[in-house]
């Protein structure tokens, strides 16, 4: 069953890359988008076409998909990021659904609703592992740089961020482009893992699933998002009987988290080994001090 577990880990890796993109956008910049599945689709189809028509190596497909998705995000962001919260969300929703409908109607290039077949299965464990490491490395450094701090300033108070001289329009667009490129990256890997892609894979449900994962992991925690992705991808596989109730549980979890503990699993904190050890120590010292008191 090595193949099964390998496939499972590849799936976790692909989801992590897509979720990191949403985490940067929603968790750190507080832009809520329903279009990320659309960018995944753009990445997947671009990558698939590059691989099958030009027979280029996977790296070229990934970079090609990311560039196209990033460019489209740049244009879309330019038009729509001037709009406030709700309106931006609606625009991305319209975008995501249009991408799907366009792919379904471009029969000659994309194979229409029946899907694009014959993509070489180049996504293996090693490729995904390297991708995930690079993806996390870039995201972590980005979020701890000036750009990342500007994102968080926009998240906390957009007007104030504007007032202290942050070009909010520019940084919102940067966040949007980066999240689109991550989505495309995941899309290309996805296409080369399944070897068959269908437009309905990249529907509104996929976009919601990505956002749900970020909310559960914690809006504003990269490690939280990664942990949540791992748990949410593995859980339905480990508990097959409960797989049916997966989306129901996700929906309920999101409503509960957002009403009761809006910071999610990790809140604004990041997972760190030091912090965990300190936390465990504090837990134990409390217990031992209690015991000592009882002894005395």
């Amino acid at each position: 069953m090595a193949g099964y577990y390998e496939g499972l880990f590849i799936l976790v890796g692909i989801n992590i890359i897509a979720v990191i993109g949403v985490s940067i956008l929603t968790g750190f910049t507080r832009l809520f988008s329903f279009g990320n599945a659309g960018f995944m689709a753009i990445g997947a189809y671009t990558g698939a076409i590059i691989s099958t028509k030009v027979h280029a190596p996977l790296v070229v497909s990934i970079i090609g998909g990311m560039i196209i998705a990033g460019f489209i995000a740049f244009l879309l962001g330019k038009i729509t990021l001037g709009l406030k919260g709700d309106y931006f969300l609606i625009a991305t929703l319209g975008f995501g659904e249009s991408v799907r409908v366009i792919i379904e109607n471009l029969q000659k290039i994309t194979g229409g609703a029946r899907g694009y077949t014959g993509i070489p299965m180049k996504t293996d464990l090693l490729v995904v592992l390297i991708s995930v490491v690079i993806a996390i490395f870039i995201a972590w450094n980005l979020l701890h740089s000036k750009i990342g701090r500007n994102f968080q300033a926009i998240r906390e108070q957009e007007v104030a961020a504007d007032a202290i001289g942050i070009d909010t329009a520019k940084y919102k667009n940067i966040a949007f482009i980066i999240s689109a490129m991550y989505a495309a990256w995941a899309g290309v890997l996805w296409a080369h893992f399944y070897s068959l892609i269908v437009p309905s894979m990249f529907n509104l449900g996929k976009s919601s699933e990505l956002t749900i994962t970020v909310v559960i992991g914690g809006l504003g925690s990269l490690t939280g998002s990664i942990i949540a992705t791992t748990i949410l991808t593995l859980l339905p596989e480990l508990a097959r009987a409960a797989a049916e109730y997966r989306m129901l549980a996700y929906g309920v979890a999101v409503v509960l988290i957002i009403t009761l503990r809006p910071s999610g699993l990790m809140g604004y904190r990041e997972f760190s080994l030091k912090g965990t050890i300190a936390w465990v120590k504090a837990l134990f010292s409390k217990k031992t001090s209690k015991i000592r008191k009882e002894d005395a």
């Binding site: 406030k84 919260g85 709700d86 969300l89 319209g94 989306m247 129901l248 996700y250 929906g251 409503v255």
Partner: protein, 290 residues
């Protein structure tokens, strides 16, 4: 031929209008789009279906049952989720995320309890068509259109002529001032959710009768939502005009251009409106959306 298309367009558009007004009412008060609205309509459709098919109630009784059920569900969602988020002073984005979660939960709840099978309403009304000149109007379409017109008339009466409407309008203008002036804002928000949910339930039954009932029926609400954006978020008359326009546009695109491109045109309209005139046809409150 062209008259037939117009009749069809209005009949679809009027169902969209029932849902779109709900979006507009809730947006005008809380400033967020209730994504779960379509799924509440879907639950209404199922309530209507079961009360006709298994409880063998007459069609008007099941209509009322669906209306009440969906209204109560909508009220419950406000009480349990949205109110708490408002009291936490969380950003509006959290309301949208909660609504998205609720939408996913409702859809999948129905999926695991009832199943994914398409259900067809039993023939409660004879499938007859009335002929005027060379256009045909289905009996179900005609009845749903009449009920829709009456319901929207009642809605306008409520908003324009009663104390309820005055309170809702004042809360929509400025919630804090309204509550300072002694209006129990929470109560009126609950009532608006009840009202919007009932309208959604009604539209759900009509959709179910016209097509079939299935867990993803709520996706129809996307069109209604686009209609309310087109008409101007938060504006009830705008939502109705937008819904009729989208209903007609869909029928004409499907009839004269290509049925595959129908949805594309609707989404393109959405993006076009957002880019050119985000306030829509009758939108107000421009500062917030510029």
């Amino acid at each position: 031929m062209i008259w037939q298309q117009i009749v069809n367009g209005i009949s679809v558009g009027s169902i969209y209008a029932l849902m779109a007004t709900g979006y507009a009412l809730i947006y005008s008060l809380l400033g967020f789009s209730n994504w779960a609205h379509g799924d509440i309509a879907m639950v209404g459709a199922y309530i209507g279906f079961f009360s006709v098919a298994t409880m063998h109630l007459p069609w008007w009784a099941s209509l009322i049952l669906a209306l009440l059920g969906a209204g109560l569900l909508s009220l419950l969602s406000e009480r349990l989720a949205y109110r708490r988020i408002r009291q936490n002073n969380s950003p509006t984005m959290f309301l949208m995320i909660a609504a998205m979660g609720l939408s996913v939960a409702l859809q999948n709840f129905v999926l695991v309890t009832v199943g994914s099978k398409f259900k067809t309403y039993p023939q409660i009304l004879a499938v007859k068509a009335i002929q005027i000149g060379d256009t045909y109007i289905g009996l179900i379409d005609l009845i749903s259109l009449c009920i829709t017109i009456v319901v929207i008339g009642i809605l306008f009466y409520l908003i324009e002529k009663t104390k309820f409407g005055l309170a809702v309008k004042s809360a929509a203008t400025n919630m804090q001032v309204a509550s300072l002036l002694g209006i129990n804002v929470d109560k009126y928000i609950s009532l608006v959710f009840l009202l919007a949910g009932s309208l959604a339930g009604l539209s759900g039954v009509f959709l179910g009768m016209k097509y079939t009932v299935y867990p993803q029926l709520g996706n129809f609400a996307l069109k209604a939502f686009i209609a309310s954006v087109f008409g101007g978020l938060g504006s009830v008359p705008g939502a109705i005009v937008g819904a009729l326009f989208i209903g007609l546009m869909e029928v004409f695109v499907a009839g004269y251009i290509s049925s595959g491109l129908r949805d594309f045109f609707t989404f393109a309209l959405l993006i076009g409106v957002l880019v050119i005139r985000p306030t829509g046809l009758f939108g107000k409150d421009i500062q917030d959306k510029a």
